[in-house]
Symmetry: C2
Subunit: 480 residues, 2 copies
Amino acid sequence: MASSDSNNNAVTQQDIEFFVSTGAEVIHGDDQLDAKYNKDYFGKYTGASHLALFPKTTQQVSKILAHCNQRHIAVVTQGGNSGTAGGAIAQHNEVILNLRNMNTIRDLDVISGVVVAESGCVLAELDAYVRESGYIVPVDLGAKKKCMIGGNVSTNAGGLRYLRYGTLHGNVLGLEVVLADGRILDALFSLKKDASGYDVKQLFIGAEGTLGVVTAVSIALAPKPRSSQIAVLGVSDFNKIQRAFVAARQGLGEIVSAFEFWERRCNELVVQYENNPSPLEGPHEFYVMIETRGSVERHDVEKMDAYLAALDAEGLVEEARVFRGTDEMERTWLFRSQMAEAHAKSGCMHVYDFSLPSRHQHELLVAVKQHLKDAGLYGVANAPVRDVTIFGHIGDDNIHLQVVADEFGGEVEAAMEPWVYEWVGSHSGSVAAEHGLGMHKGMFLKYSKSPVVIGVMKSIKQMLDKNGIMNPGKHIDRAC
Amino acid sequence: MASSDSNNNAVTQQDIEFFVSTGAEVIHGDDQLDAKYNKDYFGKYTGASHLALFPKTTQQVSKILAHCNQRHIAVVTQGGNSGTAGGAIAQHNEVILNLRNMNTIRDLDVISGVVVAESGCVLAELDAYVRESGYIVPVDLGAKKKCMIGGNVSTNAGGLRYLRYGTLHGNVLGLEVVLADGRILDALFSLKKDASGYDVKQLFIGAEGTLGVVTAVSIALAPKPRSSQIAVLGVSDFNKIQRAFVAARQGLGEIVSAFEFWERRCNELVVQYENNPSPLEGPHEFYVMIETRGSVERHDVEKMDAYLAALDAEGLVEEARVFRGTDEMERTWLFRSQMAEAHAKSGCMHVYDFSLPSRHQHELLVAVKQHLKDAGLYGVANAPVRDVTIFGHIGDDNIHLQVVADEFGGEVEAAMEPWVYEWVGSHSGSVAAEHGLGMHKGMFLKYSKSPVVIGVMKSIKQMLDKNGIMNPGKHIDRAC
């Protein structure tokens, strides 16, 4: 079969026979793999794997990893394959371990509100299941119909409602993980408070499959809201968005559940490429979308009306519209969630996912545009960059930067990287907020993490994956 | 000076001279130490240290640890010394590293609501500081006037409002930690979303000073509530408490911020030993205390009234009283927070802190009483056990069990341990919910954690503290 990467062995016929003997589904025709498992969501990364395994049980995963570890065969774990950073794509000849066949919901405790689900459960399906018992899954994101809960955890997905429900580091109560050597770490606890020793499971949240394979997840659910509404605002400058946000935390208080923004060009791209009408008449320089979730509709409506009146009195909004019916709220969320895909349809989207203090967010957009202009790549005739945009989650300082160009890589990428990572690091930001480090971003980690922090990360990798078989050459392996 | 523990060296005069040269405050008279630093909050543990250091800066901590690591001198870190499990008390001749002199609030970002504070900041003082800017610290507990934020993080304190604000694993955004070898891990980030590599700081939350010294903390704050109220209910059996809780998550929805319970005997002890009047006429078998926090008082009052009416219609309560003024709410919280101290005044309190699925909580109380009766230690004339009680936080399945006896240790402790830990482990509980493992409980870890989990914990300890100088002989060192 194919050549190996420098440290690991290629798969032999005997290996394949062993994998078949575990009971896992096995696919090893390149055509089949290339169509579905060697391709990422946005078409940026192309994988080089020749073998995909689809285990059905934790025991099968354990047998496969024990074998791979002993034989020094590299493994890349894959869920819904909706990542944007290439973390689930085979860089060399790694064996793909796809968890789509492990999709059992093992338990739902309706008193405490805790669900235990296998990693292959699709997020939207898991959410629909727990809704029947009066709960919701606290993490929610645009790719929810494709992404799987194990991948959400492994990427440390943040999503749309951090502001209300917090992070997976808080909501994940337990994990079942198969370690690189095949041992099963049964840390699938369902207790909300646990101060008995180091919280080992935390290491695997955001590890992107570099330390082991997350096979099942225990999550603290949130109560299903009885009442919800959305307001979309047209705002003339970024500073007013920040003022509206501070006012929302006070005035809407405990019911605010999302506070999103996007700029004019993002709005235009969704209208154009997704054929979806704008939620406002507009146009406006910026759009803000605020969602509330509460338990008494009358109270929530009163709070929203008072909040919008206060914004109006302060001269913060140009146009405001409130959406209250289920259908129109869904259409509004659809508009917001199509933003990334609309960019991807308009050209080759270089997407960046940063955490950045809000005072620097608009400054970033201005700096990137100027930088690309100075390089002759934007704002002139026949320039390769078509659009530079930002949108994101104000409540958690997470911003997505898109540079849409004629092609991937090339002079645009060369102009952007590492320049933009250095800019973000020097403005107290993080080079990866919720999409992960994936295939390449490990090399930019040094701009937002110190050598001591990176050194401890490397020790953790060495401790849990001595032979370096788990997603090698990515994530922390690229850090220096 | 004193004899060393088996693995570490005793302190010499040269060592003391070095410690003085760092600029840290140094105390080495046994009388002074014994009065304040060799004694725990509830008088259960007596320390054996002969030297206490009070560094003023992170650099001083770094110099001290680098020296201790090189010389193999054991260190125990101490904050407000309000722990209940002996984790901050010197077992042998460890040097005490007390952080009370590191109490600077380094930063408060009023837009994003993030505070950066040194470990020696007293929790209540930090909370008072951020309240002036419209925020609160999300963790709150009975010992808030004594405990320090670094100790809260190192113990993974849960506290009274997990239900509303979640865990420190979610709320702590960053830590500054001096590692055992003196290196400074500057992971003091203030970003809410960060998926760039392993979340290294998580290891130190709940590590009880066994992996390094937490010197500063970055915490995501919650908005200060504009409206608050408390209801205290008298309830005739435990099952009704659970039903009232499920109803509260639905009916009080987003405003419920605490849901506490205690039993009749706890109420009597506070009345008797703290001279504090009961919040209800009573007596009742169980008392429930529900707090709400919201932004519009009128809405919150309406929700509470509707909730209490629904409980009444269901026949769930015997008596209910609502407290709405600041003074009477404070008095009610005082009553609740005096519970542990009232037990301690009534005799020698063996305190246990478990996480336990709510369906087993009352069963635990019944089982403990029966077990102690069977052993002839309770419920008979001249029995050494005076009281067996439970109280706790319903919202997060955290229960405190008290066995008040004539003396510490002895036949009562022998009857209780490891029996009670085994019982909790076999009922899907955790042997330590929010008080930590401390001096002894590591040996019971095996009842709630598997050998693989304990094995990974031991690897982490070995990775970060090769010489075993950080709080040796406690926590994970006792696990087998």
